[in-house]
């Protein structure tokens, strides 16, 4: 029986039974694989770390998209950094009120490969006329930006690897200059129980640039080790006081069907476990 073992931690790992390998690319710099697993459907892993699976991706993509979208309430322009699998784009495109979406992906091949092997992630979203795809390093794009956005979603790989530039102070500072007034930056920020430093490091790097900085959470089964945190940064302090009722109303108006996200989850996701609160209090 073939298996795939994640190599993220020295003392703990998750193992997948591999039913079929659809795609595998080995270079002297990275290893990318897409395989089929009976429990999680198609699984994509990069350098020994699970990136996404067909079965549980909805939790991640819905939470990283709809929480800031419906908190803001009138997002017109969205910038997606990374997200080559198209899952974020799919969720963003569900919002009819959005006028323009720019997605910056460093590697054209990632998009092509995901369209072919993970077609359910983008589900045709790349054909949406509101979408403009830019092939560039996300950090470079925000540094040299021409336009501004209401929402920036950073859907990156881990800080060790090709996504490292998307966890730097410089990147966060540049994102701020790309945001319209009252705009929001959200970013994938790792599994806090396993890598608490990621939370405190990001908080320290974001806080100089944004008056309102926090995290929200969701548990995604294949990002093992408990809840994943999403970094939240904005200069609009009122946003975090939006009520469940308002969110519910916006969700109904938006007429979006979700499998994980709802108004109660939205509000509850900002409640942080005490170990995260303590770490932030100690370090930041």
């Amino acid at each position: 029986m073939k298996t795939y073992n994640e190599t993220l931690y020295d003392a703990y790992s998750q193992e997948f039974v591999v039913d079929k390998v659809y795609f595998e690319q080995k270079t002297d710099h990275q290893h990318l694989i897409i395989f089929d697993n009976a429990k999680f459907g198609r699984v994509m892993a990069l350098d020994g770390v699970i990136q996404t699976t067909e079965a549980d991706e909805f939790i991640y993509h819905e939470m990283l998209t709809h929480v800031p979208m419906l908190t803001h309430g009138h997002v017109k322009r969205v910038l997606i950094i990374g997200g080559g699998d198209g899952g974020i784009l799919r969720e963003v495109c569900k919002h009819k009120g959005i006028e323009h979406i720019t997605q910056v992906e460093i590697d054209q091949q990632v998009i092509a490969m995901c369209k072919e092997y993970l077609p359910k992630h983008s589900a045709g979203a790349y054909d949406d006329p509101r979408v403009s795809i830019v092939i560039d390093d996300g950090a470079n794009f925000v540094r040299q930006h021409q336009q501004t956005y209401d929402l920036i979603i950073s859907d990156s790989t881990d800080p060790i690897g090709p996504g490292d530039a998307l966890f730097t102070s410089d990147f966060y500072a540049d994102c701020k200059t790309c945001l319209n007034e009252g705009g929001i930056l959200v970013a994938q920020n790792g599994v806090a129980y396993m890598q608490l430093d990621e939370v405190t490091t990001t908080a320290k790097r974001l806080q100089p640039y944004f008056s309102e900085q926090t995290f929200y959470c969701a548990a995604i089964p294949t990002y093992i080790g408990g809840v994943m945190t999403f970094a939240w940064a904005s200069d609009n302090k009122k946003l975090l006081h939006v009520s469940v009722e308002q969110i519910q109303q916006r969700l109904q108006l938006a007429n979006i069907n979700c499998r994980y996200y709802n108004a109660a989850i939205h509000k509850a996701s900002f409640a942080l476990p005490q170990y995260i609160i303590n770490a932030l209090a100690e370090d930041c």
Partner: protein, 397 residues
């Protein structure tokens, strides 16, 4: 006929196999026999049951050696990002089958290794330990301890390794930084005359591990005993059957939970290669006949300089008379002499000279000084290894 412990004269018919290879591949070549690698791995495994082996890639970083050892279940000891790249072209590591053993690393080296799936690293001082603060949730570290190793050709105790009395401090510092130290590591030298250094180091490490548990409550679960397993060149050394039993006995004193690792390099690779060169010119200078080979100490024989090894060599002749000769390499540098004062039958231009036991630290350290091409490697007996039974490198193991 053995003329000295260095030089054998064989009959011309024994050159046929080498002549065939040279007519096919040219010269100089290094003939890599994967069956020899397999035999050495099995011999060592038999002597040290229960020990996990991590081949020190640096001794012979060749894909065929890696594929062969991988198929046998051997892990890999890597020290640089270049070595990771070599492994990566062959596949992706299964965690715990790769250890990063360079005591001094750049941040980029750590990141490259983590991306490759390696989570075991070695440190021997505070500054190195602090480099892991950013990665503390992902790694398990070994602390390299230095024990003086006088009974060895190559003393590895000076450049790396902390003093015995510093281990406790490092463990405590790691604990305060939230970094997981999972064991100890030592190197008893290279090409050791006896296993006395290993035995001493194992005893000391056993004691240190116990003290750390008593004083810090920290359970160490790995002991990496390094390499040092000797290979017969021109000097008689202990056989592996003589060398290992004292080590095995010393390991009995370790608590049951401690897993033992070893990092053999030379022992696995040295016997796998023969260097086949041709005489490209000769000259009579004084009472010496000089033979200039197409390979020398800047090439495959570089181990004579860097590794302090004298390789056995063979020539092929049925002439009885002996002359005093010099065998030199092809470059313009006068240091490029393989041996001088050899009593040997005369050779002609085009004749073969074969160096034996030339797998370890030969190809690895060869240069192309003078822009002489390095010897190309001709792989034989890799038949038993196919992509399907490469255990380590199929990510899908």
């Amino acid at each position: 006929m053995t003329i000295s412990n260095r030089l054998s004269v064989k009959t011309p018919d024994q050159a046929v196999i080498y002549n065939d290879l040279v007519s096919q591949h040219g010269s100089p070549i290094l003939v890599l026999d994967c069956d020899k690698v397999t035999a050495q791995y099995r011999a060592l495994s038999e002597q040290l049951p229960g020990v996990d082996f991590f081949y020190a890639i640096k001794s012979l970083p060749h894909p065929a050696v890696i594929r062969t050892l991988s198929s046998l279940g051997c892990g890999f000891d890597i020290a640089t990002s270049g070595e990771i790249e070599l492994l990566q072209t062959l596949g992706t590591a299964v965690r715990h089958r790769v250890i990063h053993t360079h005591p001094i690393k750049r941040d980029a080296d750590i990141r490259d290794a983590l991306r490759f799936g390696c989570t075991t690293f070695i440190v021997d001082n505070i500054w190195e330990l602090e480099k892991f603060i950013a990665y503390r949730h992902r790694v398990g570290l070994l602390i390299r301890v230095s024990f003086p190793n006088p009974n060895t050709d190559i003393d590895l105790s000076k450049k790396f390794g902390c003093r015995e009395e510093d281990v406790m401090l490092l463990v405590q510092k790691a604990q305060s930084l939230g970094i997981h130290v999972k064991g100890l590591s030592f190197h008893a030298g290279s090409q050791c005359a006896s296993s006395a250094n290993h035995v001493h180091a194992i005893k000391q490490c056993t004691k240190i591990m116990d003290e750390i548990y008593q004083q810090c409550g920290k359970l160490l679960s790995i002991l990496d005993i390094g390499g040092g397993f000797p290979v017969q060149y021109t000097k008689t050394v202990q056989t592996i059957q003589e060398f290992c039993p004292p080590i095995l006995e010393a390991l009995q004193q370790l608590p049951d939970h401690v897993q033992v690792l070893a990092e053999p390099g030379r022992f696995l690779s040295a016997t796998s290669m023969e260097a086949v060169s041709r005489v490209m010119g000769k000259a009579q200078r004084g009472d010496m006949t000089w033979y200039y080979l197409d390979d020398g100490v800047y090439g495959s024989y570089s181990g004579q300089i860097f590794d302090h090894v004298t390789y056995p060599i063979s020539i092929f002749s049925d002439i009885d008379e002996l002359e005093t000769a010099v065998i030199a390499g092809p470059t313009c540098d006068s240091i490029d002499v393989i041996d001088e004062g050899l009593q040997m039958p005369p050779l002609s231009i085009g004749d073969l000279v074969v160096g034996h036991q030339m797998g370890a630290y030969t190809y690895a350290t060869a240069t192309n000084f003078n822009l002489f091409d390095k010897a190309s490697v001709v792989v034989i007996n890799e038949n038993n290894v196919s992509a399907d039974n490469i255990v380590l490198f199929a990510q899908t193991q």
